[in-house]
Symmetry: C2
Subunit: 324 residues, 2 copies
Amino acid sequence: MIHSWRELSQQVEAEIAAFDFSGKPNELYDPIGYTMTLGGKRIRPTLCLLAAQLFGGDLKKAMNLAMAVEVFHNFTLVHDDIMDEAPIRRGKPSVHAKWNRDVAILSGDVMFVQAYQLLAKGNSEKLSQILSVFNQTAIEVCEGQQFDMNFETRNAVTATDYIEMIRLKTAVLLACSLQLGAFESGASDRKANLIYEFGEKIGIAFQIQDDFLDCYANPEEFGKRVGGDIISNKKTFLMLTAVEKADKDQLIRLEGLMSQKISDDDKVAGVLGIYNELDIPNLTRAAMQTYFEQGMHAITQIEADEELKKPLISLAEQLMNRKH
Amino acid sequence: MIHSWRELSQQVEAEIAAFDFSGKPNELYDPIGYTMTLGGKRIRPTLCLLAAQLFGGDLKKAMNLAMAVEVFHNFTLVHDDIMDEAPIRRGKPSVHAKWNRDVAILSGDVMFVQAYQLLAKGNSEKLSQILSVFNQTAIEVCEGQQFDMNFETRNAVTATDYIEMIRLKTAVLLACSLQLGAFESGASDRKANLIYEFGEKIGIAFQIQDDFLDCYANPEEFGKRVGGDIISNKKTFLMLTAVEKADKDQLIRLEGLMSQKISDDDKVAGVLGIYNELDIPNLTRAAMQTYFEQGMHAITQIEADEELKKPLISLAEQLMNRKH
């Protein structure tokens, strides 16, 4: 029986609901249970389980690694929210807002260790590979976060720099989640590398899609204000590509829109006008499509039951066709 | 040839000096090299190597685990300095003071991963035990830090609570360092547990000694002001024991000294007077001696070349007879 995305994400949710995150002192452990049960789509652990299923592994055993990536991901959110001074996470107060900075630092550190405790329960024959990809990924996620913070104040950022940043900050953890599921199931290095590449490329496509939707989503379906990135002068793939493609006149107009005091509506309309002149929507769609195809090419090369690939492929397709 | 404490700590220092801590982005990696080369006694990695030597291990291989505990220890200092808002570390600006809070959080996180990268190079046959003791220790160190922060504002703290706090915050990492050296050398679980116990008990004795010296060191040898803990109303082993032993009149006088606006000299003299009435110096020495003897008992039980135990025993003795 082949488990769908939905079934496995529900299994993850049930596992988290049943997991005992309590401990002493309370100040350290309460925020962990709080964070882990705030919700979220559980994308990373579900990817891990789908990869384990693809390679014929025991899903119950793979759940340890699935939980490890989810705990790690939530740890990064707790620390990122301090750095970004974000008061809200998933509609609730973030940990540093609900408790305080020190609790958020230290609870986050404990979550990081808990991720390793879960990893250590992984396939003992593959423990070295499991640790290796996880360590590399954890460092890359930190590098991505630092690049992202640097970009806010750095002028000379290219679209290539940006792709590398989103690869590090987001895509590698999706890739790692899949690869851990593969290692748990005893997949060969070749297969584990191909499923990693699938996750990495789809992850990059997904992030570019995020930037695209922020400008071009249907406002009724989007759930937040279209053009938010433009209003906040965010260096997105679209903006960086526009800056690279713009001629002198367009660049002056673009910089004017970003620095002048004009209404948000005028700013969004003005920037979108320049994006259209520069064919940015099509260039962005093309970049997305390229990464998407690279990801699909990687999964195609894996020798495995095609039926078992379907939940992963359909997830990738859904991500590309989403409206919000 | 038996390597002394001094020789092995110099090997650690040389390893750190030769280690490449650089990486991109600079903001993330510069603070790591900075922190790791600020100095310090390198107690934990040297303990790891001495334990590896005791059990006949390859010191070169054990260096990876030695480095892991030193990187982990320095990671905890980087995060603790944020929480304690400490501007100075080893006479230089702390990371959050020299760079900023976010850099200190994120560089610390990377150091944490680097510790695991070094651990993963340990004895592959013992990797599961290596990870297990390290994970448990890392969590306990966080718990100890949280208890320590809680104690600052909590009234009902007992000397027993305090011992548990210093065990978690300091002693277990010394114990873990020794046990990692044992595992690397393929020591049996029994021996690894005994060397752990040695480190844990000596570590507790060492911390009680710290509190003792703060009150009773020879001012000329101590290097900082004697009585600093009394002046800052710190809940030390001495103070907590005094509060427990005091009768009603002594308790009122003690609380008066801690809350009244009097000169530092009068406060120190007043509190030391009460300590003497309550025999606190002898009670503290007795507690120290008890933990010291428990540690020595543990190492005595280990079947190993007595000559190879000597550097560890003489270190423990030096720690107990130190003047500052």
